[in-house]
């Protein structure tokens, strides 16, 4: 199986120490986390982890199950990049005089959809939002013009096929959860595996 980027989405309780409990599932297997974002979700009190790793599906499925096994994790999904809408934000600090003087730089920023966040006499901070390749290409372009500082955020991703978590949470809060709450979607993929 081929290694590729996977987006792991975990719905969790908001609990001190849970970040470590999740992080060590990766570090124990010497798997690097490419990107990690923790934020509120559409439901108050439920947090959402977005984790990006490069692995085979077989490994990602095992990791997803291990994360979901943690007491304070409600549900875990994993998706390829094709299954999600995703964005990363980047900030670039460049000397203001360069931008003012070089027409080329101004055009470059406009072409990349960069927006000025702060303009000072000495430097200007631009922001772009997009996929990794887009934010990366602007660094390369700005490098010759004295890029002072660069930072990129973690990835946030929305699952295209997701209906959100409201209905699922209601199921979780029942004492006897129905079938769709359990880890059964892993089983649903198996129809072809066994034939009599």
């Amino acid at each position: 199986m081929e290694r590729q980027e996977y987006n792991i989405t975990a719905y969790t309780e908001n609990q001190v120490g849970l970040l470590n409990r999740i992080a060590i599932i990766f570090s124990r297997r010497k798997i690097n986390i490419e990107s990690l974002n923790v934020s509120p979700s559409e439901i108050e009190g439920i947090h959402r982890f977005n984790i990006v790793i490069v692995e085979t599906e077989e490994v990602v499925e095992k990791l997803a199950k291990q994360i979901e096994k943690q007491v304070e994790v409600l549900k875990v999904y994993y998706n390829t990049n094709a299954d999600v809408i995703w964005q990363e934000m980047a900030l670039y600090k460049v000397p203001t005089d360069v931008i003012a003087e070089k027409v080329l730089v101004e055009r470059l920023l406009r072409e990349n959809g960069a927006r000025a966040v702060v303009i000072r006499k000495d430097y200007t901070v631009f922001e772009t939002t997009g996929h990794r390749e887009e934010t990366d290409s602007l660094i390369k372009a700005l490098q010759p013009y004295g890029l002072i500082e660069f930072v990129r955020s973690a990835r946030i991703a929305i699952i295209k096929a997701s209906e959100g978590f409201h209905r699922k949470l209601q199921e979780f809060e029942r004492r006897e959860p129905g079938e769709d709450v359990a880890e059964n979607e892993f089983l649903n993929d198996r129809e072809q595996v066994f034939t009599m």
Binding site: K65, Q66, K69, V71, L74, F186, M196
Partner: protein, 581 residues
């Protein structure tokens, strides 16, 4: 309590539940009592003094066993949990007290043992200041606990402990640690009546059983020519011994066990074909690679069981019953996954399988067994050599106990002998460190096992290496008067490592030549009776004397120095490449 209830304002529309003012320390102990705990293993220290102070008044309801080291405390709690089926409880102070629990937590985690460990912690306002005996035990223990939680206010205690017990014992059991800061132990608060936890929205103890997979599993079993059952501790943890026996007997399928599953089906049951794994029996290993349907029940395909994975049961369709979804497809790809508690799934499966016998298939196990008897077992149990073997000690012990004793084994060659040859008539009769292989486990675990099964004889079988790792627990035996029989099988070597050095490292015996003290004299120092034997003539009378002795007894048996444990699946080999010599 009642006067307080009466004192509540009567007009209050939603009457607040009755509360009682108490300290966090008292609330901690009340929670233990409410959870049905009768025995706790612990060691006091600065940051847990308030709980020990409260314990002074709980002598009637909680039996506190003072151990000699926190590692001994947690292993004793494990032994208690394993022999009784209840949650084991260990107490320790902050810092070194807490870190001394780590080996036991890792052991309990990998062997799915239900534990609640309570550690003291420095005052909340000192957290992160490198205070005296401060250690970040929550982060240290995160990888080796099913759940852990730090309490910094007394109000959190009842709920934290209720969750701790619920999580430890439900689903796939495991160890839980609750760290309580000293201020929370001392603080007085209005404690509500204790309420056990029965539901956590983010936690599902067992997956929902899917009937279609039970049907598929039954169809596969009914079509099988050479089906083979592997069972593990899941049968014991699920208290499904009876359901398992009914499944085995109706389906007529030969069944083999992992070392933690031993005894769930009696060792002399006609369909019990023996032990799996690196030092398991010949037939079960070889025939794993010849069966057509492999039915794994409550076991996790540990590498010591499977040997080389890419040559493991490749010809077989695999049915895997497990309560833990992460175990399905983790090591061995499953054809039919049957998720759920085997207490629930086994009867559903039994109802659908046809009543069968597999005489020719079973005869193959018996043929292999005959070969193993000729090559290994006869000489091990009834040696013709002058020196004593570990196997004959177990054989004599079987004859005396009739398989009724709880055996607690340590780690190494004697452990494999104890697992292979100890007769077990019932479940929860063998306590051993399986997944982690913790030397030093047996002596403290045997103390706990006796408290957990006070009416059964408990025999700790330990090597001369392991016993020296936790020998100070003889002090616990002395002080509590607990009746533990200690059987040291002394081959004057770290025998298992020596065996590997002999077989795979050109007999370069690197630091395996370990000297022993005079164990009988050490025992005498602790006022424990003891004896040392080195001849066949003395063995049987000494074992009888040990078992008949009122109270604990240490018996050291000098056994042959350079015996190897066979059969053996060498590391990196397939189970079919198992060697008889």
């Amino acid at each position: 309590m009642s006067t307080q209830t009466l004192a509540q304002p009567a007009a209050s529309p939603a009457a607040a539940p009755a509360t009682t003012p108490m300290t966090g320390a008292v609330a901690t102990l009340q929670a233990l009592v409410a959870e049905g705990v009768d025995t706790i293993f612990g060691y006091p220290g600065g940051a847990i003094i308030p709980i020990y102070d409260a314990l002074y008044d709980f002598a009637d309801s909680l039996n506190h066993v003072l151990v000699r080291h926190e590692q001994g405390g947690i292993h004793a709690a494990q032994g208690y949990a394993r022999s009784s089926g209840r949650v084991g409880v260990a107490l320790a102070t902050s810092g070194p007290g807490a870190t001394n629990l780590v080996t036991g937590l890792a052991d309990a985690m990998i062997d799915s043992t239900p534990l609640v460990c309570i550690t003291g912690q420095v005052f909340a306002h000192l957290l992160g200041t490198d205070a005296f005996q401060e250690t970040d035990i929550i982060n240290i223990t995160t990888p080796v606990t099913k759940w852990n939680y730090q309490v910094t206010r007394a109000e959190e205690i009842p709920e934290a402990l209720a969750k701790a017990f619920y999580i430890a014992r439900s689903g796939r059991p495991g160890p839980v640690l609750v760290d309580i800061t000293k201020n929370a132990q001392m603080q007085t608060f209005d404690a509500p009546a204790y309420e056990p936890c029965t539901h956590i929205r983010s936690y599902r103890p067992a997956p929902v059983v899917r009937k279609e997979y039970i049907e598929q599993a039954a169809a596969l079993i009914n079509s099988a020519k050479r089906p083979f059952i592997l069972w593990g501790q899941g049968v014991v943890l699920g208290q499904a011994e009876q359901e398992f026996k009914e499944f085995v007997e109706k389906s007529g399928i030969p069944a083999a066990w992992t070392i933690l599953g031993v005894g769930a089906l009696a060792t002399d049951h006609p369909l019990n074909v023996g032990m799996l794994g690196m030092h398991g029996n010949y037939g079960p290993n070889v025939l794993t690679n010849e069966c057509d349907v492999l039915i794994a029940i409550g076991m996790r395909f540990d590498d010591r069981v499977t040997g080389r994975l890419d040559k493991y049961a490749k010809q077989a369709q695999v049915i895997h019953l497990d309560i833990d979804p992460t175990e399905i497809d983790k090591n061995v790809k499953t054809t039919v996954p049957v998720w759920g508690d085997c207490k629930e799934t086994l009867p559903l499966l039994t109802a659908l399988v046809e009543r069968r016998e597999h005489p020719e298939w079973l005869a193959r196990f018996n043929d292999y067994n005959a070969q193993e008897v000729d090559a290994v077992i006869r000489e091990e149990l009834f040696p013709t050599s002058e020196e004593l073997t570990m196997g004959e000690v177990m054989q004599q012990l079987n004859e005396i106990t009739g398989g009724e004793a709880v055996i607690v084994s340590d780690v190494g060659q004697h452990q494999m002998i104890a697992c292979r040859y100890a007769r077990q008539n019932q479940s929860r009769s063998h306590v051993t460190s399986g997944g982690l292989g913790t030397m030093g486990f047996a002596l403290p675990a045997a103390i706990g096992a006796k408290f957990g099964a006070p009416h059964r004889p408990v025999v700790a079988v330990i090597g001369d290496g392991g016993v020296q790792m936790t020998i100070q627990e003889l002090g616990t035996i002395m002080q509590t008067g607990v009746d533990v029989k200690i059987l040291i099988l002394n081959n004057e070597f770290l025998g298992m490592v020596r065996q590997w050095q002999e077989l795979f490292h050109q007999r370069r015996y690197s630091f395996v030549d370990i000297q022993s003290p005079d164990y009988v004299a050490v025992a005498a120092g602790y006022r424990i009776a003891g004896q040392r034997v080195a001849t066949r003539a003395d063995l049987r009378p000494a074992l009888e004397k040990m078992l008949a002795h009122p109270g604990s007894f240490l018996l050291e048996v000098m056994v042959t120095k350079e015996n190897n444990i066979f059969p053996m699946v060498p590391q990196g080999c397939s189970v079919a490449e198992i060697r008889l010599r």
